[in-house]
């Protein structure tokens, strides 16, 4: 492993060669940046991974059941397990999806579950991402390149090969395919995750399409050739947010959608990966109820824990939050990407008062969590190793069966005093090794 760490710069050079980047908009300008890679991997023992695997499969299966229920009978609301306020006021709940059963009855085909490990070794789920979670391509290509840079490391350690992600993705797409080609739709070259879209298309042998390449005719979705020929699309892995995918159903001003796509989907003539409307299940407010969903739908005890969470919506919780603001992390449920996250202990007295007023005024908008002192992982900085906060995004793929990818995206903060690991806010990434023995 020493050889790999010593040659971390070589890996980053190869990353630059292959354009391993993500884009951000600063002052209205699109800029692409290299996603900084740290060569020291996060290592999960086989036993640890197996435990995580069980918990993740359980969680995603319950979330898929929840999504079906919400868009059909809503039994979980009728039974008083999840309050209807949290469902119908969620920005992710889409009434246009009511009654639709997606091909294969699968909603979240690709789930990105964010976890942290506390210093006592306990894993906590911080967030479920069930819309279009990104990040799998980075550890995929990192593994390819680190094996080139330090083959001896991989000869010595018994690391499960993670380069099967593309095959897993292909299987998931094939499983729900309604007859036709597999397509990955990107909103365009200047999307933050464009590298990932194009890399996954290449590796999963899917067609990378731009919205203008697709059209609907007779309630079927087609990819058009430059000669005028066309091919039916059976699965569309769309990397475009719900509200933009079809201007006839959602935002009429969207230029990155396909008109009438929802009609095709509603008729069962194309599988959309992931299904529209999933946002209702990965809402930060709904997160609180996921352990209850597991018991409700599966009749099992949750294997993985949520971070201790309080809902300002409940009076008792709200009072607790307001009394303990300085030791909690408060999250705005309508924000994502690390935005809208406030650590109470970093606020001045005046800022705490303002936040308290906002919480009292719009309690549904906020949740608060105990700050988990999660473990640091070492990263290389210059010629030394320094500890930094890191999380893990695990990828769960639901096809014929639900599987957890034996790897994941470990993101770390590059600032010593920061808990924010998001790439859009300057974080870097590591490969995640799962040991095979």
């Amino acid at each position: 492993m020493f050889e790999l760490i010593e040659n971390g710069d070589q890996v980053n050079k190869l990353m630059a060669r292959y354009g391993v980047k993500f884009g951000i908009y600063k002052n209205g300008q699109f800029q692409e940046q290299i996603f900084p890679f740290d060569a020291i991997p996060r290592i999960l023992s086989r036993q640890e991974f197996e435990r995580l695997e069980k918990g993740l499969i359980q969680r995603v299966d319950a979330l898929n059941r929840f999504l079906y229920d919400i868009y059909h009978g809503k039994q979980i609301i009728a039974d008083g397990v999840v309050p209807e306020d949290f469902v119908f006021s969620s920005k992710g709940y889409l009434p246009q999806c009511e009654g639709i059963t997606p091909p294969g009855n699968c909603y979240s085909h690709i789930s990105g579950i964010d976890l942290v490990q506390a210093k006592n070794g306990t894993w906590y789920v911080l967030e479920d991402n069930l819309r279009i979670p990104s990040g799998a391509s980075y550890p995929m290509i990192a593994r390819e390149l680190t094996r080139r840079v330090s083959p001896r490391t991989f000869a010595k350690y018994h690391v499960v090969d993670n380069r099967n992600y593309a095959k897993m993705l292909q299987d998931v797409m094939n499983n729900v395919n309604t007859g036709g080609i597999n397509v990955i739709m990107t909103p365009g070259r200047y999307n933050a995750a464009f590298f990932e879209h194009s890399y996954l298309a290449e590796r999963a042998k899917a067609v990378l399409a731009f919205p203008q390449d697709l059209f609907v005719e007779n309630n079927k979705l087609y990819y058009s050739n430059y000669t005028g020929e066309r091919q039916k699309v059976g699965t569309l892995y769309r990397r475009v947010s719900d509200e933009y995918i079809d201007p006839m159903t959602f935002l009429p001003e969207s230029l990155i959608g396909v008109p009438h796509l929802m009609d095709v989907y509603r008729a069962g003539n194309v599988a959309l990966v992931n299904a529209p409307g999933n946002g209702v299940a990965d809402d930060k407010g709904i997160y609180y109820f996921v352990p209850k969903m597991i018991s409700y739908y599966l009749g099992e005890e949750p294997i993985l824990k949520n971070a201790p969470t309080y809902l300002a919506f409940y009076e008792e919780d709200r009072e607790y939050i307001l009394r303990n603001l300085e030791k909690l992390v408060v999250k705005d449920v309508s924000e994502a990407g690390g935005y809208g996250v406030v650590f109470g202990n970093r606020l001045s007295a005046e800022e705490q008062r303002q936040l308290a007023d906002e919480i009292k005024g719009q309690p549904r908008r906020f949740i608060a969590q105990e700050v988990i002192d999660f473990i640091d992982l070492n990263i290389v900085e210059g010629s030394t190793e320094v500890p930094r906060k890191a999380d893990l995004r695990a990828f769960v793929l639901s096809g014929k069966e639900t599987k957890v990818w034996a790897s994941g995206l470990t993101r770390f903060s590059r600032q010593a005093d920061s808990f924010v690991v998001n790439s859009s806010q300057g974080g870097g990434f590591k490969d995640t090794w799962v040991l095979s023995r």
Partner: protein, 226 residues
């Protein structure tokens, strides 16, 4: 894959054109740069005139920097290479990451040399030439879809013929490039102006002795073939 969208066919064609533009103009720039070292410091003016780009440089020093590296100059090598890259990056699934990496490396080299105010461009920018050579070799090996390769090569030979005519290259090369374009264009399903191509053929192949009288006609026709 076997199916190429209109957007992709356009990008493939222009990827072919821009990579060729960078490759050929940079190679010729090397010759002019050499001349300007100790023979004719104004030689760049002829270069600009031949390519039909405005001579806004004023001195060889400004030309040597701006023509190579100025992001704001739409005629610069950098701008053309960036356009090649912007087309290529949207085609990763067709080209393969391996092929695309050579265009990425060429662009990175341009950026690196541009920011370090190079003292020896012929040495540093040889890497750009090498990477573009490697790119075309890789395309032949890694791009599975023959249609894709043919569209790119149609773009490449169109650009090459255009530049060879402008730069008054050896007539045998011009003749050869025309034959390559004519052969390639029939292998793709891009709509093209057949009479225009035939007229270019007449100018180049049948009016050999005085073909230069009609070079601008040929260039104009070529611009409208596709």
């Amino acid at each position: 894959m076997g199916i190429i969208s209109l957007e992709k066919s356009d990008r493939l064609y222009w990827l072919g054109r821009y990579t060729e533009r960078v490759f050929t103009t940079l190679s010729v720039f090397f010759e002019y740069y050499d001349t300007m070292i100790d023979s004719d410091p104004q030689a760049y003016r002829e270069f600009c005139w031949q390519l039909g780009i405005p001579d806004v440089y004023g001195s060889k020093e400004v030309f040597n920097w701006k023509y190579l590296f100025d992001e704001g100059d739409t005629n610069s090598i950098y701008s053309n290479l960036e356009r090649a890259f912007n087309n290529g990056v949207a085609l990763r699934d067709e080209l393969s990451s391996t092929s695309l990496s050579y265009v990425q490396m060429a662009l990175d080299t341009m950026k690196r040399c541009g920011s370090s105010r190079h003292q020896h461009p012929l040495l540093d920018l040889q890497e750009v030439i090498d990477n573009l050579y490697a790119f075309w070799g890789s395309v032949d090996d890694c791009v599975e879809d023959e249609e894709c390769r043919n569209i790119m090569k149609t773009g490449r030979y169109t650009e090459r013929l255009d530049l060879y005519i402008r730069l008054d290259m050896d007539f045998r090369w011009i003749e050869k490039e025309f034959m390559k374009l004519r052969n390639r264009i029939t292998k793709v399903q891009l709509p093209y102006d057949e009479p225009a191509l035939e007229r270019i053929g007449e100018i180049i192949l049948r009016e050999k002795d005085n073909w230069k009288d009609n070079r601008y006609v040929a260039l104009e026709l070529l611009e409208n073939v596709l």
